[in-house]
């Protein structure tokens, strides 16, 4: 009767096992520092240009959208505050995470999936290497380290994008007021949730990508399927977690 629940529950169980093994491997020898650095380059540096671009435009569009609503209340001076809070609390972490999910959860799933179907993962095990330690842990560490950094960059560039719209373009406020407003409106609570979210999202992106990659079966078609599933599942969980984390912080 509850057979339809079997597959999602098994997947969740696999996810928890993988998360546990990948996390405990961080402190276990041997350490694959080179792989971590390589993944940081791929995930962090590789995602930088697109993060900057999206960050800029999301801040700009936020200021544009708010300009009308604020002018109705004669509060155009608050544009800096609104842009900063929305970006730092929500837009920065979620948009960056969705970008990295689209770029890297898929990349990880297809890379590991191809390795699985060409027996490279079996070969790795046969040669005495733990694929979780060699493949999953470095990707998890790299994502957990770079995603918060990318988010901070996206937030800053976004606030700058808002500034470009608010001051030189629409003349809603003065330069000084914009930056003052943006800076003062941020509380520790905002910064804390703005940094906790990317850290949680990093776990989701890296582990979902790895899980779907490692589980791949059925040749090249299977790799395609795993890639799509990884992006979809990671994106959905990003939204679920942002809701849960926000719910906790709203009450604080």
């Amino acid at each position: 009767m509850f057979d339809f629940l079997k597959s999602p529950i098994l997947t969740f169980q696999e996810f928890i096992t993988l998360a546990w093994r990948a996390t405990t491997n961080i402190v276990r020898r041997p350490f694959y520092f080179n792989d971590v650095m390589l993944q940081m380059d791929v995930i962090g540096v590789g995602s930088l240009p697109i993060t900057v671009l999206i960050g800029f435009f999301s801040g700009a569009v936020m200021a544009l959208q708010m300009s009308r609503a604020l002018s109705q209340y004669g509060a155009t001076g608050q544009v800096g505050q609104i842009t900063a809070i929305t970006l730092v609390r929500e837009m920065g972490p979620v948009l960056t995470a969705l970008l990295v999910a689209g770029r890297n959860a898929s990349g990880i799933a297809s890379e590991l999936g191809s390795m699985k179907v060409t027996e490279q993962i079996d070969a790795m095990r046969a040669l005495g290497t733990d694929p979780i330690k060699k493949l999953v842990t470095p990707r998890l560490m790299a994502t957990a380290f770079t995603l918060p950094l990318l988010t901070i960059i996206a937030d800053m560039i976004g606030i700058f994008g808002g500034f470009i719209v608010a001051v030189p373009l629409l003349r809603l406020t003065t330069t000084e007021q914009y930056w003052n407003n943006a800076w003062r409106s941020l509380e520790y609570n905002d910064i804390a949730q703005g940094l906790l979210k990317p850290l949680v999202f990093a776990f989701v992106i890296a582990l979902v990508g790895c899980l779907y990659g490692i589980r791949t079966t059925g040749g090249t078609q299977g790799v395609g399927r795993a890639t799509t599933q990884a992006v979809v599942v990671a994106s959905v969980w990003i939204f679920v977690f942002t809701f849960l984390i926000t719910r906790v912080f709203v009450n604080l």
Partner: protein, 277 residues
């Protein structure tokens, strides 16, 4: 030391192995076999007979549903992954498609078992890697990536990697699958050379009866550096056994002569004699 004078020890023993995925479809059914030092085992069978799955069970890459596995005299059935990592370096394995790591160069691929197991650096193992690659006549490909090599070359690199750490047991999964007959013969002659030079215990999985025939009847002559027919009284003949698998079961076990005489129509398909006539 002449072949046969070594103390014979059981390298691999499978006892009543059964494996089924999702509890219904049985992939392996009641598989029992033994491999002794210096022996050559040739596992024949059509695609989907369970040959690869059986090897993966022997290597601990798949867990059997029931039955026991013994490696080098040790019961390894209930080993966890960490314990398997300790024992697997004693086994050299050539995967169906070579199983080379795409992101590593040929040199790094071949050096992997040595660098991974010990604290040696790639520079320290380079002479060994060069020798192993020269053995498979691919000394010039050190800096290339697997994607730049042909299927047969990748298989040869796989052979070099499987043998570099001097394993006690060599497993070759379909070494000639998907290759043209000339390349396939070259690969088989390399495997025969490897067997003679190391006096290694090896198992070859194949769907081609020619591979089994070559393993059972030819030996490598280091002087002429060529393969030659094995004398009728060679002890190697007695230490070469054939297995035929069908539908997850072992349907035949014996010497080449017994294989040729088998009345089973499925087994007879893998007999060199009857396939020719």
């Amino acid at each position: 030391m002449t072949p046969g004078s070594t103390d014979r020890a059981c390298v691999l023993r499978l006892e009543k192995i059964r494996l089924s995925f999702n509890g219904v479809d049985s992939v392996l059914e009641d598989i029992s076999l033994e491999m002794w030092t210096g022996e050559t085992l040739i596992v024949l069978g059509a695609a989907g007979a369970g040959k690869t799955v059986m090897v993966k069970v022997a290597l601990g890459l798949l867990k059997p549903t029931s039955g026991r596995i013994y490696l080098f005299g040790q019961d390894v059935t209930d080993f966890d992954e960490q314990q398997w990592f300790q024992i697997r370096p004693r086994i050299g394995m050539l995967f169906q498609e070579g199983g080379l790591f795409d992101s590593l160069t040929i040199e790094e691929n071949v050096a992997y078992p040595l660098v991974n197991r010990s604290s040696l650096t790639p520079d320290q193992v380079r002479p060994q890697v060069e020798e192993a690659l020269r053995f498979v006549e691919l000394g010039h490909t050190m800096t290339k990536f697997p994607s730049e090599l042909s299927g047969g070359m990748r298989r040869r690199v796989g052979i070099a990697r499987a043998g570099i750490a001097d394993p006690d047991l060599l497993l070759y999964d379909s070494p000639t699958a998907g290759l043209d007959p000339i390349t396939a013969n070259n690969i088989m002659s390399l495997i025969i050379q490897e067997r003679e030079l190391r006096n290694a215990t090896s198992a070859i999985i194949s769907h081609r009866f020619q591979d089994g025939h070559m393993m059972a009847n030819f030996r490598y002559n280091p002087e002429s550096k060529r393969l030659e027919k094995m004398p009728e009284d060679s002890p190697m003949r007695a230490r070469t056994r054939f297995l035929v698998m069908h539908g997850g079961r072992i349907v035949f076990e014996g010497s080449e002569r017994e294989l040729d005489q088998s009345r089973d129509p499925y087994v007879a398909k893998f007999s060199m004699q009857r396939s020719i006539h």
